[in-house]
């Protein structure tokens, strides 16, 4: 491993397999990335040598497991630029991280309170807020998507008010690729007295982060989209915000002392981590962020921007192709959504799969956005550290054949 692209591919065993007789072209990393040998081996090594339950085991294995689990927290803290380890809460993924906030903050909502989301949200940053609003009589407002796929910031200003309790928006859209103006959103949201949550599922794997200076109250992301295992995610939360929050869920480990009718909560961050956590997942995530660190997130972002630019350029030349989201790779994440005239996205994806090309098809868990765009779904190619320009060429060649394929 030395750099993103061709030279890191040997680290990813799965990339050498054939799919339907063709070399795999994996362009679905926005759904879930592949993982390098370093991550797979770290997880295996943990299970083969050090597994025990964390925190209250006195025996050697428990101590080792605790050290590995808490070591992962330190590594993630450094990777995202959080001010302290207490701000890193491990969850099962982005979805659980957002649900944690929606339930914990949700309990404090009342009639007249408002939550501000947008039309481009993944269902995981929409449904938890719908549920919180429904349970507490609060109302949900959505910032419209305009132009090539940008948040309508004038509407954002109009919708933001002293009634807004939470602003919950994607850092990077999982369909349009739009990188939202988070610095402005955070500043304005906090000025209005709201908590600001960013869904970082498509941000953390692709962009350098410095959350302490960026300043959101919450930033949620998943391990499996950033070369780590499934079943591990992170809720970053500003310490002051977290200290004021009641735990969302109860169980073992999140308490200090328990009586039959009440309990005293544990310190941060364990207060928000009831039950046996995803220890192996944390160990794997540790290896993943180490791997990304060695590649360098600035280089990762530049590599993926180059792939996005090549993909946009190649697809825009193909007759019958419609592209969704910004056409400029400089302001876009590592994802390109598109459709081919006369071809349903699921048929397109199935035909590409026959050639070994894995892309996503459908509504991408963003049905309100699909309704806004007036379509049922799209094809979506998304990139990670291991993708290459040659793979973009193979995609473009096959997309060019799709129109007459059925």
């Amino acid at each position: 491993m030395s750099a993103p692209g061709e030279s890191c591919r040997p680290d990813f065993p799965i990339l050498s397999r054939l799919v339907n007789g063709a070399p795999l072209v994996y362009l679905d990393s926005a759904a879930s990335s592949q993982r390098p040998r370093q991550v797979i081996e770290a997880v295996s090594r943990y299970y083969e040598r050090s597994h025990g339950n964390v925190h209250r085991s006195i025996h050697t294995l428990g101590e080792e497991a605790t050290e590995l689990y808490e070591g992962a927290r330190d590594a993630v803290r450094a990777f995202v630029g959080a001010a302290s380890r207490e701000e890193i809460v491990f969850t099962r993924g982005t979805t659980e991280a957002i649900n944690l906030v929606a339930q914990a903050v949700g309990r404090t909502l009342g009639p007249g309170d408002e939550i501000l989301v947008s039309e481009m949200e993944h269902h995981s940053n929409l449904i938890p807020w719908q549920m919180a609003c429904r349970d507490r009589g609060a109302s949900l407002k959505a910032v419209p998507v305009v132009g090539e796929g940008f948040l309508d910031m004038e509407a954002f200003s109009r919708l933001l008010s002293p009634r807004t309790r939470v602003v919950a928006l994607a850092h990077v859209s999982n369909v349009l690729g739009t990188i939202n103006p988070v610095a402005e959103i955070i500043r304005r949201g906090r000025e209005a007295g709201a908590l600001v949550l960013l869904d970082g599922a498509q941000g953390a794997p692709h962009l350098p982060l410095d959350l302490a200076s960026m300043g959101p109250d919450f930033y949620a992301f998943s391990g499996h989209k950033m070369l780590g295992p499934t079943g591990i995610g992170v809720l970053y939360a500003r310490r002051e915000t977290l200290e004021r929050l009641e735990p969302a869920w109860g169980g073992g480990e999140m308490i200090k002392e328990v009586w039959i009718d009440h309990a005293q909560w544990n310190d941060l961050p364990w207060r928000f981590e009831p039950g046996t956590p995803p220890i192996a997942g944390a160990v794997g995530l540790h290896a993943a962020v180490e791997y990304l660190d060695k590649l360098g997130m600035a280089r990762v972002a530049a590599h993926e921007r180059d792939l996005t630019a090549r993909c946009l350029d190649a697809l825009m030349r193909i007759p019958g192709v419609t592209i969704y989201g910004p056409r400029n790779a400089e302001i876009k994440g590592a994802v390109v959504a598109f459709n081919v005239e006369g071809i349903h996205p699921h048929d397109g994806a199935a035909i590409l799969d026959e050639r070994g090309i894995a892309v996503r098809a459908g509504h991408h868990c963003a049905q309100p956005l699909m309704k806004r765009l007036g379509i049922v779904g799209t094809l979506r190619a998304s990139f990670s550290v291991y993708n290459t320009p040659a793979e973009i060429e193979r995609l473009a060649e096959s997309v060019g054949d799709l129109r007459g394929a059925l």
Binding site: H346, D347, I351, A361, H363, L406
Partner: protein, 123 residues
């Protein structure tokens, strides 16, 4: 091969696509996999399905499945529709469809059965 010649042909040139004015039974539903919506309208007389049409934006597999399904039930008794299975449709489509796309094959059947049972469309 997912896309059999039957699927391709029925997708390009469906025989039962369209709508029926004032149908005796109709229903529509969504495929949760893709958000596709399909609607089926039927004419019924003397316990028999005498005519039927399907419409909606759907993939080739779903559109072809709807088309061969309606072809097979027109002229048959309403009761016989409840005994139809996914295997019957796959046989007519002459296709080997993966588990992930089976909902595309079966959605028209559940929509037709919903129509004949008089189910209400959720909004």
């Amino acid at each position: 091969m997912v896309y059999s010649s039957v699927i391709r042909e029925r997708f390009r040139a469906p025989r039962y696509r369209g709508s029926l004015p004032e149908p005796d039974a109709s229903f529509e539903d969504v495929n949760p996999l893709c958000g596709d919506r399909i609607r089926i309208e039927c004419r019924i007389a003397g316990g028999m399905v005498t005519d039927a049409r399907h419409r909606g934006d759907s993939c080739a597999i779903c559109a072809a499945s709807a088309d061969v399904l309606l072809e097979s039930v027109i002229g048959q008794s309403v009761d016989s529709v409840s005994t139809l299975t996914a295997a019957d449709l796959l046989e007519r489509l002459q296709a080997d469809v993966r588990a992930s796309r089976m909902k595309c094959v079966t959605l028209p059947l559940t929509v037709l059965q919903g129509a004949l049972e008089g189910r209400e469309v959720a909004r």
